[in-house]
Amino acid sequence: MARKRFILGFILSLAFVFFSWPGPQTAQASCGSVTCFVVIGSQQQVSPKGLLTVNAFYNYTPQGTLLNGTDGVIPAVDLDNRQLILGHHRELRTISQMYTLDLNYGVTDRFGIEVAIPYKRLRHQHIDGLGEANGGAGERTNFSDNGIGDVFINAKYNLLPTLSSMVVTGFGVYLPTGDHDQKTAGIGGAETMEPTAQIGRGQLGLQGSIYQTYEIIPHRLNQFASASYRHTFRNNFGYQFGDQFDFGFGANVVTVPWLVLTNQFNYRYMVHDSYSGSLSRSLTPSDPGFPDEALVLDPNISNRAVPTTGSTYFAYTPGLQVGLGEAIKTPLTENTSLYFYSQIPIARDFNGNLAQGVSYVFGITKLFQIMNPS
């Protein structure tokens, strides 16, 4: 109940921020989660001096597709006993929903600060205890969590500020503000949920990025490209999320002044996660004594790549942006735009895990001139 009230309060707060601010405004958005890597111009750019760009967006990402040749059986990362148990879970479905408030402020015309505050809702279903419970068939477990994720603070510098071209570099830090030790009901009682199903990563992360845009036909057609690299340090549970490389390129076409169509291609490469623990494997029907406790393969605590993590994902993302201020002339809609993207996978490899399906991003951008630019 308290969580529901919190979500409602969060949404109402966003609505309040957007619709009660008087005065001059102008607008564009950036994703801080593994679930979202659409390139949104207003997020990537450096706001002019004194201008606050507020983006609020919702991202829906399902992960429930079994690719050919995979069965969704993955290892268990047993954080409480510091062990990696091969073949212990069968993934069924994960739904990630994220509400992000992204603020970009221009400190100077070339230097800006971005703060992204995500609120994440996660629903995860899997079969736990393969080879152990229910005659080795395992036990279906549902897990869900909501909360503020890892807050991202980014410093951006516009290397090439011109009317027709822009190159922005960024260096940011992910703060471990998200809950990363949530418990769930396991077959042996309450146990810490696996890191990949937690709201936060539990450790600092660093991100470097570059964004480029060029007006091919001024105010009619522009192209853009972006690249970023994220590194997360090992957390106190001994788990380290793999490095993440994101690339995107595409073009925006202004059809009528209030409607911009976007087409982009996005590519993400994620390195295997690493876990510092002992190694076991679940028993299979051909093992003597099946079903029973997992068989210890290596009792030494050492860093091991988690086999079914890491992925490559290539997607086509069409989208549109509606300039509300252009379409409806009121003080409320001035410098406000809405956007929607749908990310459709073209090629994907999730190393035996469930694959990410078609995801959606819906957002609103509003600009507020906080200080005189001159």
Binding site: L160, P161, T162, S165, V167, Y214, Y267, Y269, A347, S374
Partner: protein, 180 residues
């Protein structure tokens, strides 16, 4: 799939690489007030070549604008009014249009009855020369070709133009005397 990371890096580098070479030399700094404004030469809507230096001896308002830029078109009537009032007193407006078609600009100028010279900055060169990467920008240049005021974004009003021109006219002899 495993070759894709390398391929994507290649695509990204290629995109940066195909940017026109002169793009990378753009993004000049905003001219400092008191320094000499760099000269430029552009054609107007009649195809006639005009330079900044040909207006030496006059106070010049160089205004960077585009028809899609609402603040730009909002402040233009004030520029026109002050141009009408002060042109005989040594004040001129040069409206430098950024990256638009002649026909579109001509139509706009005709519709609003502007009579000041409109120059076409077709390759963005003069805007870059003056460190312009957002519109509008207004630069007041004194009789000796020095930048006296650089205004980004903020709306020009008749009062603002009047005050600035009066201030420049007032201080000029003093500054000129000091320089000599």
């Amino acid at each position: 799939m495993k070759r894709l990371p390398v391929l994507m890096i290649g695509v990204f580098v290629a995109i940066l690489g195909v940017l026109p070479f002169d793009v990378w030399s753009m993004g000049a700094r905003v001219p400092t007030v008191g320094t000499q404004a760099e000269d430029f030469r552009l054609t107007d809507l009649d195809g006639k070549s005009q330079s900044l230096s040909q207006y030496r001896g006059k106070i010049v308002l160089v205004n960077f604008w585009a028809t899609w830029c609402k603040p730009c078109t909002t402040e233009m009537p004030a520029m026109q009014a002050m141009y009408d009032r002060l042109r005989d007193k040594g004040f001129v407006v040069l409206a430098v249009n950024e990256l638009e078609d002649d026909a579109k600009v001509r139509e706009h100028i005709k519709q609003y009855g502007h009579t000041f010279p409109v120059l076409m900055d077709r390759d963005n060169k003069v805007a870059n020369q003056f460190g312009v990467f957002g519109l509008p920008v207004s630069v007041f240049i004194d009789q000796e070709g020095r930048v006296q005021e650089y205004i980004k974004g903020g709306l020009l009003t008749e009062q603002k133009i009047d005050e600035t021109v009066a201030r420049i006219q007032k201080q000029e002899p003093v500054k000129a005397a000091a320089l000599r």
